[in-house]
C-alpha cells in the first residue's frame, strides 16, 4: 500500500463515515459538524484525484460558504437553543433499509459495468493535462473558450469548444439567484401579534 492508497483510504472512510453520521445525528448543529467533516474529506479526495482547483473551490465554497450559510439558517430558524425535531425510530430504520437496498443496487451495477477499451487503457495515466494536477490554468482557458487538454492530445486540426457560454449563463444565474434569495429572505412587515 503506497502513500496515495493510504491517504485515499483514510479520506474515503472519513467522507463516508461523516455522511453516515450526518444521517444519524439528531441535532442540526451536529449534522452540520459531520457535514463539514464529510465535505472537507471530499475536498481531500479531489486533491488526490489531481483536481486541485476543484478541491480548492470545494473547500472555499462548501466548507467556507455554504456551511456557514446553513449554520446561519440553523440559528435563524431555531425556536429554542437545543431544539430537536425528532424523527421516529421506525422511519429511521425504514429509511436505512431502503438506503441500504439502494446502495446495494448501485454497488451491484458499478460492479457489473465493463468500461470501454480506450478508457481502460487510459485509466492508469488519464488525460496528460489532467494528470499533472495543475488544472487551474486549463480550467481558466476552458472558461475562455480554449481547450488545451483536448487539443494537445488530438491529432486533427479541429479545435474543441470551451465553456464560455455556460460560464456566462452561470454567472447571470448566480446574480439572479442572489437577488431572488435576498428578496425571499428579506424581513417582511408582519401583522402585529402573529409572530
Amino acid at each position: 500500500m503506497n502513500g496515495e492508497s493510504f491517504l485515499f483510504t483514510v479520506f474515503a472512510l472519513a467522507t463516508c463515515l461523516g455522511a453516515i453520521a450526518v444521517v444519524f445525528s439528531q441535532t442540526v448543529v451536529r449534522m452540520a459538524f459531520w457535514l463539514v467533516i464529510s465535505l472537507g474529506s471530499t475536498a481531500a479526495l479531489f486533491f488526490l484525484a489531481k483536481a486541485d482547483f476543484v478541491g480548492a473551490a470545494q473547500l472555499l465554497i462548501y466548507v467556507g460558504g455554504t456551511l456557514v450559510l446553513l449554520v446561519f439558517g440553523v440559528m435563524l430558524t431555531a425556536s429554542g437553543p437545543y431544539l430537536k425535531i425528532i424523527t421516529s425510530p421506525g422511519e429511521i430504520i425504514m429509511g436505512s433499509c431502503v438506503g441500504l437496498l439502494f446502495l446495494f443496487v448501485v454497488f451491484a451495477s458499478l460492479d457489473g459495468v465493463k468500461w470501454r477499451e480506450p478508457s481502460v487503457a487510459a485509466m492508469a495515466t488519464g488525460n496528460p493535462v489532467v494528470a499533472t494536477g495543475n488544472t487551474l490554468r486549463p480550467i481558466g482557458l476552458s472558461f475562455l473558450g480554449s481547450r488545451p487538454d483536448q487539443d494537445l492530445i488530438s491529432d486533427g486540426d479541429d479545435l474543441t469548444p470551451g465553456y464560455l457560454l455556460p460560464f456566462e449563463i452561470v454567472s447571470v444565474h448566480l446574480l439572479v439567484v442572489l437577488i431572488g434569495a435576498a428578496y425571499l429572505a428579506r424581513a417582511k412587515r408582519r401583522p402585529v401579534g402573529s409572530g
Binding site: 422511519e91 431502503v98 439502494f102 443496487v105 451491484a108 451495477s109 457489473g112
Partner: protein, 807 residues
Amino acid sequence: MVGETLRNLLMIAWLLPLAGFAVEIFGGFWGSRKSRVAAWMSVGCIGVGFLCSLSALLIWGNSNNFWKVTHDSEHHAEAGHAEAGHAEAGHAEAGHAEAGTDQHKSPDSVASSAASVVLGKTVFSGTLYSLARFGSLDISLDYYIDSLTLVMFTMVTFIATCIHLFAMGYMSEELTEEFVDHSAHLSNGHHVHRPGRYYRFFAFLSLFCFSMLGLVLAGNIFQVFIFWELVGICSFLLIGFYTERKSACNAANKAFIMNRVGDFGFLIGLMVLWTFFGTFRFGNTVDAKGEVVQAGLFQMLPRDETGNVLRDAASGDVKLGAVTAAPESPSSRTIPYSLLVVAGLGVFAGCVGKSAQFPLQTWLPDAMEGPTPVSALVHSATMVAAGVYLVGRFYPMFVQEVLLTIAYVGCITLFMAATIAMVATDIKKVLAYSTISQLGYMMLGLGVFGWGAGLFHLITHAFFKSLMFLCSGSVIYGCHHEQEMPKMGGLWRKMPITAFTMLVGVIAISGLAIPGLVNWCSVFAFSGYFSKDAVVATSLAFVKGNPTHFLLFIVPLVTAGLTAFYMFRLWFFTFAGKPRDQHIHDHCHESPWIMTGPLLALSVFAAFCAIGGETGPLYRLITGDQPAHVAHGIAGAVGSGELTLPGHEAIHAVHGTAGTLALIAAASGTFIAWLLYGTTLVNVAEIKRQLSGLHGFLANKWHFDELYDGLFMQPSHVVGQCCVWIDKTVFDGIIHASAKVMIFVSKWDKLFDEAVVDGFVNLLGNSTFAVGRSLRVIQTGRLRQYVMFIVVGVVALFAILFTTFPG
C-alpha cells in the same frame, strides 16, 4: 352635335326624377312628416325636366328648320298659347326629303326602297350604357329620339309638373304625424290611425315619372320592357297608396295582375323578335367609323313601294333586310309571316293590358282607389299612355292583320266603355270609363292606319283628361271626399274656377266646335275636336277602302255622341242645377291656388294645344318622324282579301264629311245631356226605370267582373279546393306517417343512446374518477415520503432492469 345635346337634355329630364325619388324616400325617412320639402324637390325635379324637354324640342325644331315661320301664320305666334313659337308652315315634307337623303342604307338591301322605313337625320339613336352581353345579344341602355319622343317628353313632364303642384294641395292632409283614414276600419270598428305619407307619395310620383320618361326614351325593346314593368310597379304602389283600405289593395293587385296577363303576350312578342331579328334595338347600331354594324328593328322589315311587307313568293316568309358588316350575308334572316303576326299581336297584348283595352280593361276603373292626382297621372300622361305610345313606336313592325286587330279591339273598347260611363255615378268612375273609351279611340286610330291621328289624340287627350281629373280631384277635395255625383249639384257657384276649367275639358273631350267662325281655319274648336276628328276621318277613309269593316266607322261616330252625352251629364250633374245634398253643398269650398293654378294652366293647353288641326304645329310635330309608309297608304290588291290602308290624301278627302258627322253626333249628345240633366223637362228616374234592364247591364260594367269571376276565379277556386283536398289527404297523410315513423325510430334511438352511448361515456368518467380518488391517498403532501417514493421507484426500476436484462 344636335343629337348629343338632345340626348343630354332628355337624360337630365329623365334622371332628375330618379334622383328626386332617392332623396325623397330617404329624406322622408329621416325628415319630418310635416315638411313639404319632398314635394318641392319633386316639383323641382320634374319642372326642370319640363324645361329640358321643352328646350330639347326647340333645339330639335331649329335643327330641322321646323320653326321657319311663314308669313300667313305669323299671327298665331301672337295668339298667346304656350307653343305659339312653334311655327306653322308645312316643312314636314322638306324634313322628310332631307331625311330621305341621309338615311343609312345597305346598297343591296331590299330596305333601300323609298317606301321602306326612313331613318332620317331627325332621328337620333345610340347607346348610353352597355349592361351585359350574351353571345350576340347586347343588353344595353339605348336612346331613340325622334319627334314623337320629344313631344311625349314635353307633354309628360308638363302634365306631371301640373299634377305635382296640384298634389301638393290635394295631399296636404297627409302632412301630419297622425292621419285618420276614414275609409279604412280596424277589426274593432275604429278608423285606422297612421303617420302621414306625404313624402312617400311624392317619392312614388317621382319614380313614376322616371319610369315613364325612361320608357319614352328607351332605344330598345328590352329597355322598354324594363320601364314598362317599372311603370306597372309605380302604378301598383300609387293605386295601393292607402294600403289600409281593402279596396285599394284589391285594386292595386288587380291592376298589376291584369297587366301581367298582357305582359305575358308582350314577352312572347319580345322573344319572337329576338329570335328572328337578332337585336332588340330600334335604331341602327353604328360602330366607331359610322358604319352600320347591325340594323335596327325598324330598318329590317322590308316593304315595297306601296308599303306592303315584302314576302318571299314561294315560302311566304319575309326576308329581313339585316344590314350587317359582313358582306357575304347581307340579308340571311327570314321570318315566317305568321310569326311576324304573332310578334305584333304579342306586343299589342302588352299594350292592351297597359292601356286597359278590351278585354283587360277592368283594372282601370278600380284604379280610382288611388289618390286623385295619381288617377290623373295614370290616366293621362303615364300608365295608359304607355300602351298607345308603344303601339305608335312599334308601328313599323305591325302588319295589316295586327292593325286590323288593333282597330277592332279599340272599337269594342271605346263603345263599351262609353256606354258604361253613361250610367256611372261616381265622378271618377265616369272619367275612368271615358279614359278607356278615349284610349279605344286612339287604338282605333292607330289600327286604321291613322298613325298621326291616334298619337294626336293621345297628346290632346292627355291634356284634357288630366285637366278633368284634377278638376274632379278639386271637387272631391272641396266636398270632403264625396265622390258620388247624385249628392252634388250646383257646385259652380261654390267653386267657379273648377267648374269653368272642367267645362273647358268637357267641351274638349266632347269634340264640340263652332263651324266657320274664324277664317284661318274651318272651325274654331278645342283640342279634342281636332284629334277626334282626325281619328274619325281616318276610320271613314279606311271604311271607304274596306267596306266590310263599316263598323269601324259607325261605332266611333255613335260613341262620339255618347261621349258628349256622358261628359255633359257629368258636368250638369256636378256643377249645374240645384244642390241635391245641402250638407255637402254648404261645406264645400273652392280649392286653394296651388290646386286651381295647374287647372288653369292645363285648361289653356286642353283648349288650344291642337290649334290648327292637322296642319297645326302639334300634329306636324308628332308626325315629324312618322313611319314612311304611313303617308301614302297601302293599296290592297283587289280580291286578295288584303286591306286597303288609307294614306294622307285619302284621309284628307273625307275630312270634311267626317268632321261634320262627328260634330253632329257630339252636338246631339250634348243636347240630350242638357235635356236630361240640365233641365227638368224630362224625368231621368222614369227613363231609368223603363230601361232598367239595360241600365243594370251597363251599371254592372257589362258584367265583365262577373264574367271573369266565372271564367277564371271560380275554376281556380275549384282547382284550389281539389289541391287542398289532395294536400290534406295524400300529402299530409304521407308526412304524418313519416313523422310517426320518425318518432318511433327516435324512441329506440333514445334508448340506444341512453343505454350504450351514455353508459360508455359515464363508465369512462366514473372509472377515471375512481382511479383519481384512489390515487388521492398517495398524495400526502409530505416531502419526505415523496423522497422515499423516488428512492423506492429507482430501486424498483433498477431491479426490473437487472431482471429483464441480466448480465
